[in-house]
Symmetry: D2
Subunit: 344 residues, 4 copies
């Protein structure tokens, strides 16, 4: 069985393993105050071209989302998110557990638009009973989205402008950031994301690391006491250097971007194979997640040798499924899959 069911089925890039092994017997202070974390912070700030950023390392995505969002919202505020957003679907109510509603906005492709954000805001404030309703307090987007789609520079500029005007901090979930940045057609870069978002994170778990997400905070008001929030939400790793080392390895000379390309290349091979077979796609994704629409018979055939995820029923005869690639997906496995797609 060859696994395409998610983008976290293997361990870490060899360079990370090597560094973990090499540094194993070092004695360092705990909780992210070591020199590996400092190095990693510096590399990331350099790549973002902004030395005033705050960078924190957390273990996982749900933790990062919860910690950031709960640190920003007032008790009566909610976070605006696409209905497909990870925080709205796959975090077991972690945001609500901190006391806040996810204000869900219907999205076709996983993206929010500036117009939608404006509409949520206006609907709230134009309602005579707005004090009886959850106040929109910030905006959450993902890049790439859960559906593999990406924001263009223009998209993000518009969203950022609207958020600024409305006083809504903009938070980007970058659990798959590398795959967005390296995708065909992407015209966003870390410096731009860093300028346009108030806070975002660069995902390691799905892009080469064993685990870890680098939360980057640009806006001054959101930086204060963030480490208290990390500790309170259970995200402050005792041996914090484990996170520093991983991001050091990923960012000291651009490894993060380099390995992300593999996922895109492999995903495009799979995409093209399904296209050539005449399959439709649920979303037009330029990133590492592909959502072909298949018949049950096609699904059954592929399921004999490959694991992939059922996504949603499309019509009476067809379902959308998800194939994921990653930084470590092996070309020989993809080639085998491509051959088998031809036969379905």
């Amino acid at each position: 069985m060859i696994r395409f069911e998610n983008d976290y089925s293997e361990g870490a890039h060899q360079r990370i393993l090597d560094m973990l092994v090499d540094t194993n017997m070092e004695q360092t202070p705990g909780y992210g105050m070591d020199y590996h974390c400092d190095n990693a912070r510096k590399y990331i700030k350099d790549y973002c071209e902004d030395e005033n950023l705050d960078v924190h390392f957390l273990v996982g995505g749900t933790q990062a989302n919860t910690t950031v969002i709960a640190s920003i919202l007032k008790p009566y505020q909610g976070v605006v998110s696409a209905n497909t957003g990870h925080i709205n679907v796959h975090e077991t109510g972690a945001i609500e557990a901190t006391g806040h509603r996810v204000i869900s906005v219907d999205s076709e492709d996983g993206k929010l638009t500036a117009a939608q954000i404006m509409e949520v805001y206006d609907n709230h404030w134009n309602d005579a009973t707005h004090e009886h309703m959850v106040q929109p307090g910030m905006v959450y987007i993902s890049h790439p989205t859960e559906n593999g789609t990406i924001y263009s520079r223009k998209d993000l500029e518009e969203i950022s402008q609207v958020c600024n005007e409305l006083g809504l901090p903009l938070f980007m979930d970058g659990a798959r950031m590398g795959y967005g940045l390296m995708s065909d057609g992407n015209d966003l870069s870390l410096p731009e994301i860093s300028k346009l978002c108030d806070v975002f994170y660069i995902g390691g778990t799905k892009v080469g690391a064993l685990f870890g997400e680098a939360v980057v905070i640009r806006t001054e008001a959101l930086k204060k006491d963030f480490r208290y929030n990390i500790k309170q939400r259970g995200g402050m790793l005792a041996k914090g250097r484990l996170l520093g080392i991983q991001f050091e390895a990923l960012f000291q000379d651009g490894l993060y971007f380099e390995i992300s390309k593999n996922a895109i290349k492999m995903a495009m091979k799979i995409k093209n194979a399904f296209k050539e077979k005449g399959c439709e796609f649920l979303y037009d994704s330029p990133t590492n997640q592909q959502f072909p629409i298949l018949t049950q018979d096609q699904i059954d055939k592929l399921a004999q040798n490959y694991s992939f995820q059922h996504w949603t029923k499309v019509d009476e005869t067809r379902d959308a499924v998800r194939f994921c690639t990653s930084w470590v997906t092996e070309e020989k496995n993809v080639d085998k899959l491509v051959e088998d797609i031809k036969k379905i």
Copy 2:
């Protein structure tokens, strides 16, 4: 300006005022441990035909909803509600503030169906990643709903049966209970509601009292330590007898039901007037809230002498508005309105 904008614009029934005045200098223990509360509890249990019920008096609806729901759910569970449910729309995220999601289900008319509840449950448990999603933990319905509609006995029996099968406690918000029970076509009674729901409340604020909701708990497991929950959520009134006295007045000889009829009679007069005028309605409500669809011109004309609530835009030329009646709505005001409706 004659007010039809809500059902809480006046004070209380005279009999309540009289009792408050008469008992004012009595010295009683606090926090609902007085004989007035005992009396009221007894009357309500009698009307429900079940001496094993627990009855608690809380100040308001949001407080009652929050206290009940937070007392039932486990941290990772949410409460299933129609999208129009009060807890989903008009409580400023009070449920989320206790850590729980409102699992919203689209509803045309404010009602949930047994089939919808089953579907939410199945969708959750059939999803391979259900541990990553908020687990449905209970069901919230309103009778009447926010849209003035009511559940039939058959509706409620089906819902109750599904909830029992699925292990989901059923909670009925009865903020306007009297208006449901006294409406034309209603075939539910307090004893039935009491048997079919695990917990419900009988609203006083909108039906004759200054304030107050009587929470009735049938299911043994939900009774334990409920008073701790009341206290923690800020709902334990020091002079608890004020609540007891009001429900004593309302239930010692059926005043609650008697005065509810007035709201229905007045609402039907208004409904018929709009009908005769040829107006459509957003919902077909047999209770004290009526939702006629009017043109802007019609709205402007009526707004000169009457206050009522804008509800929603219906199409380019028309909006739905809400007229509320109550136990205290004066017939002469309604007659005047009826005359004016004829002229729009």
Copy 3:
């Protein structure tokens, strides 16, 4: 049985009842937006000599404490309180239920000192691991305290100054405010309290009203969106005018202060009676709560005709008990008690 067990065993002052009866059939907007609330707000601001104050009416003390505190603290902050503070002892963890710790400071007499606040602050910030500890975020005091003691002007000025310097908002629980202001030896006034605290409340429940606390906010940053907090915490009364009317009655011509004097006069009679009998006191209270230390025999004798509260064991043979008076305590009952005290 004559009750001295608490200060909320009767109803309301006759003038409040009269106003409730007189205004009963008025139609007003809900949720505190009516002219009675406006009047009451104006009266209170006048008495505080500050037109820029925000005044909100909430139903009860636990609700007021919870709503104010949760509106101020960041998630990782706690509220500094005397160990005897109401929020630390008698609110069933309501503060914790909003996510915050009560940082308890040992107090002999129920009061906090400026030095203690400074010490808590310094202990936190001087600890190398302070990010692993709850950060002091505000200060809660009561005037009078749960032990009947009061702050002098000098006390409060020192506390206020320290709080300002340390950036800790100062919140005063004034559930018994009237009894503090009217007590012998008090040198604080509403205008001073209003200047020295960031937010405080004037208790109605224990001083003449059926229920209700008037939350007064001076500090601009704490005013924003406070009504959302009220609604979310279940404290926004539909018929908000009931609160407005009561504070209107209490503050339109100083009734609040006038009736508070009765409690003090009656308490001093009781205090003197115990003193003359040679009893010691647990606290030297100039307000409406008296804590004489009695033998079991003395307790038993008084318990035959009077209800009062057991407070704490003092030594092998004696216990402290609490006698409460209030605005409505009848002199004939107190005289009877005084006679009986002579006989123990």
Copy 4:
């Protein structure tokens, strides 16, 4: 600078690193559903001699404490803990953030006694106003404690019996479990702990692992849906096998116990050195944390070459400090320290 400031300054045992490297390219399902986690679960259940246990792997201690405690308590309940307990001191209010109070009990040496637990319980339930107070809902102890002390078998049997009688689940924080089990004088074993506690965890972070705590649940009622809790609190690692692999390495042939011995041996060397020097100790610890009481001069001398932690001021001239050893503390460093202790 040689570090004795904590027990997490190095990485992991070589065998763990080797396994991580060896398994790196395996493709496994996520979220703890892989065969490494299964293996580790089996090993731990074998060591506990109970096949009915549930074993879950979480990343860190605060996360484990929060997730377990929030999964057990009802909203109005608190967790009983020694005042020195980690949850009461060093988790930035993580427990409160889930809505619960830590009910702190004064402890001389970090341990709770059965009598203290009984007293907390009785004090609560004997108080007439207990519904206004946080109800004790479970008991939290640490073995070893934050002060290095350990529970004897008799201690734990008494506590367990009291907890059973009172219906309070007993939770043991075993962040340093190995150092407790391997200490001189310890007469507890994993099977006994497993029988006497309702839930406990075996710490990996401080005992050989990069990170990770194994939560072991014996009591049936506490097992239900625990994975939802893990996910909601941000503790469900995507590459869950990383935790499985580490506990597999630690428990497949007793490595965990073996390496724990080193910490004890090294700690006893340090303890004896201070003893011979005539130093007193703040606590009499048989485990890996030692708390000698030193003069400022002694502290300054040792601080030249060793990092250790200031603990508390003892008197005008002396402070208690903490020296930690661990599974990886090198004997040559300890010998050097011992020599230098002789010179102070």
